[in-house]
C-alpha cells in the first residue's frame, strides 16, 4: 500500500511539473490526492479552515500559498500522513517554480520592450545626426592606431566623392588634398599622433571626381591610460562659404575702386 501511494505521488509530481499554471496545478493536485487517499474530502483553502480536521500549510521558506484541508485524519497512518506532507511540500515548490517563471517572463517582456524603445530612439537619433551632417556637409573620421585603420562616415565619403565600399587609408586621404596643401596636412596629422596635438585647419581637397573643394578639418587624439590610441575628428565642406566670402571680398574691392574713381565716401 505504501509503495503504491509512493508511486502515485511520484507520478503526480512528474505530471504536475509540466503544467505552467498555478490554478491548474492546484486543481489537478487536489483531485489526484482525493483519488489516491479516498474518503478524506481534500480541498484547497486560502486560509486555514477551522471546520477541517487537519490543515496542511502549502508553503516554501518565503511564501505561504494556501492550505490543504481535509477530514478523517485518524484513517491515515503516520507513514501515509508523512507521504502526504511530502507531496504538499512538492506542490509548494511547483507553485513557486511557476511563479518564478511568470516573474522571469514578465521581466523578459519588460526588458524586450525597453530594448525595443531604446533601439528605436537610437535609430531615430542616428538618422537625425545623419540628416544634420548632410545638411551641414560635416563628416566624421577616425584613425585607429592599433589596427592602423581609418574609418569614415557616409558624409565624409560624400565630401571625397568616393563610394562607400572603398576602404580608405591615411596616406590616400592626405593624397586627395591639393598638392600645395599636402605637406601641411601631413604635418598636422603627424603632430597629433606623436605629440597629441589637436588641429583645426582649412585646406583645398581634390575629390575623386576631380572637383576642387575647400574643407575645414578638425582633429583630436584619443588617449587611453596615457597612451595615444587614435585620432578622431570632423571634416566640413566649406567650398560654398569660401566662394561667398571671395565674392563678398570682390564686391567690396569693386565698391572700393568705384568710390576711389568717383571720389565719394560712404557712412553707416
Amino acid at each position: 500500500m505504501k509503495n503504491h501511494i509512493h508511486h502515485e505521488l511520484f507520478l503526480l509530481s512528474t505530471n504536475l511539473s509540466q503544467f505552467k499554471s498555478k490554478t491548474l496545478i492546484i486543481k489537478v493536485f487536489v483531485e489526484s490526492i482525493n483519488s489516491i487517499f479516498p474518503g478524506h474530502q481534500f480541498c484547497w483553502k486560502k486560509e486555514s479552515d477551522k471546520n477541517a480536521e487537519e490543515n496542511i500549510k502549502v508553503c516554501t521558506r518565503s511564501k505561504t500559498y494556501g492550505y490543504l484541508s481535509f477530514i478523517e485524519k485518524s484513517n491515515l497512518t503516520n507513514e501515509t500522513f508523512s507521504l502526504l506532507q511530502n507531496a504538499v511540500q512538492l506542490l509548494a515548490v511547483l507553485i513557486e517554480n511557476v511563479e518564478q517563471e511568470e516573474l522571469l517572463n514578465d521581466q523578459k517582456e519588460h526588458l524586450d520592450i525597453l530594448v525595443e524603445e531604446k533601439t528605436r530612439d537610437l535609430i531615430k537619433s542616428q538618422q537625425q545626426v545623419k540628416e544634420t551632417s548632410k545638411m551641414a556637409k560635416v563628416g566624421g573620421w577616425q584613425i585607429d592606431l592599433h589596427g592602423n585603420t581609418l574609418s569614415w562616415t557616409s558624409e565624409t565619403y560624400r565630401i571625397y566623392e568616393l563610394s562607400e565600399d572603398k576602404i580608405p587609408n591615411v596616406a590616400d586621404a592626405i593624397n586627395y588634398y591639393h598638392p600645395d596643401d599636402q605637406e601641411i596636412v601631413s604635418e598636422y596629422v603627424r603632430q597629433a599622433i606623436e605629440n597629441g596635438t589637436s588641429f583645426d585647419f582649412q585646406a583645398r581637397l581634390i575629390s575623386a571626381k576631380n572637383n576642387l573643394k575647400w574643407v575645414r578639418a578638425y582633429g583630436k587624439v584619443n588617449i587611453v591610460n596615457g597612451e595615444t590610441t587614435g585620432v578622431h575628428g570632423m571634416i566640413q565642406d566649406i567650398t560654398e562659404r569660401i566662394a561667398r566670402e571671395k565674392k563678398l571680398q570682390k564686391s567690396l574691392h569693386e565698391l572700393n575702386q568705384a568710390q576711389k574713381v568717383a571720389k565719394v565716401g560712404s557712412w553707416f
Partner: protein, 218 residues
C-alpha cells in the same frame, strides 16, 4: 519546436514556434483573457495565412470583440472572419445544442457533415477552436460533454483537422478539469504544449465513464 502528434503532414500551430501534425485534439487550459486570446488569435491567424478553413465558437467574447483583435494582429486577413471561405464562426447554441439539448451523437453527425462539406472542392485543412465556458450553463445534456470530447479522439485522427478546446481553469471545477485532461491527448498550459500524461484512450475512458457512447463514429 516540433511535437510529433501523428504521421500526418506538419502544420505551424501559430502558438510560439510550435509545429505538430494534423489529426490532433488539444485542450487549451488558460487563466486569463490574454492567455486565451494568444491561443485563439495565433492559431486561427496562422491557419488563415496558410489557407486553412477556420471554425471558431466564441463564448466569453462576442464575435465583434474577436474580430477587432484578430484584424489588429493580422491586418492582411482583413474581413476574412466574415467570409465563409475562410471562417465559420458559430455561437455555442448553433454549434453545440441547436435543438436545445447537447448530444454527443448529434455532434458527431454535425461535425462529420461539416467536414464532408469542407472537402467537397478537394482536401482542405480545418482548424477548430471553441471556448467551452458555455458548458457551465445548465444546458440539457451537458453532462455528456466529456463523452463528446472522448469521441473526438475517434473523429479527428487521420483527418486534416486540428481542434483546440479552450477551458478556463478558474471557471471549471477540478473534477471537470481532470476529465478534460483525460480526454485530450495534448495540452496547452502557460503557452507550453505537451503530451498530456493524464490522457486515457477513448475506448477505456468511455467504457468506464459513458459506456452508452462507446461506438466509434464511422
Amino acid at each position: 519546436m516540433h511535437i510529433k502528434t501523428s504521421n500526418q503532414p506538419k502544420l505551424k500551430l501559430g502558438i510560439g514556434d510550435y509545429t505538430c501534425n494534423w489529426g490532433v485534439h488539444i485542450c487549451g487550459l488558460y487563466e486569463t483573457e490574454e492567455e486565451r486570446d494568444e491561443i485563439i488569435i495565433g492559431f486561427l491567424g496562422e491557419g488563415d495565412l496558410s489557407g486553412d478553413l477556420q471554425l471558431y465558437c466564441p463564448v466569453e467574447q462576442t464575435p465583434e470583440m474577436f474580430k477587432e483583435k484578430y484584424y489588429k494582429a493580422f491586418p492582411q486577413c482583413d474581413c476574412h472572419a466574415d467570409m465563409p471561405e475562410h471562417f465559420s464562426i458559430s455561437n455555442a447554441k448553433e454549434l453545440y445544442y441547436p435543438n436545445g439539448t447537447f448530444s454527443p451523437i448529434d455532434m458527431d453527425k454535425g461535425l462529420n457533415d461539416f467536414f464532408i462539406e469542407s472537402q467537397k472542392n478537394g482536401e482542405r485543412n480545418v482548424r477548430g477552436t471553441a471556448e467551452m465556458a458555455w458548458a457551465l450553463e445548465a444546458i440539457p445534456g451537458v453532462e455528456h460533454l466529456m463523452a463528446y470530447e472522448a469521441r473526438l479522439n475517434y473523429f479527428i485522427p487521420g483527418k486534416p483537422w486540428i481542434s483546440i478546446c479552450l477551458y478556463n481553469v478558474n471557471k471549471f471545477s477540478g473534477t471537470i478539469i481532470m476529465n478534460v485532461l483525460k480526454t485530450h491527448p495534448y495540452c496547452i498550459s502557460g503557452g507550453i504544449i505537451t503530451q498530456n500524461p493524464y490522457y486515457i484512450h477513448p475506448d477505456k475512458w468511455l467504457i468506464e465513464n459513458a459506456p452508452q457512447f462507446m461506438n466509434p463514429v464511422s
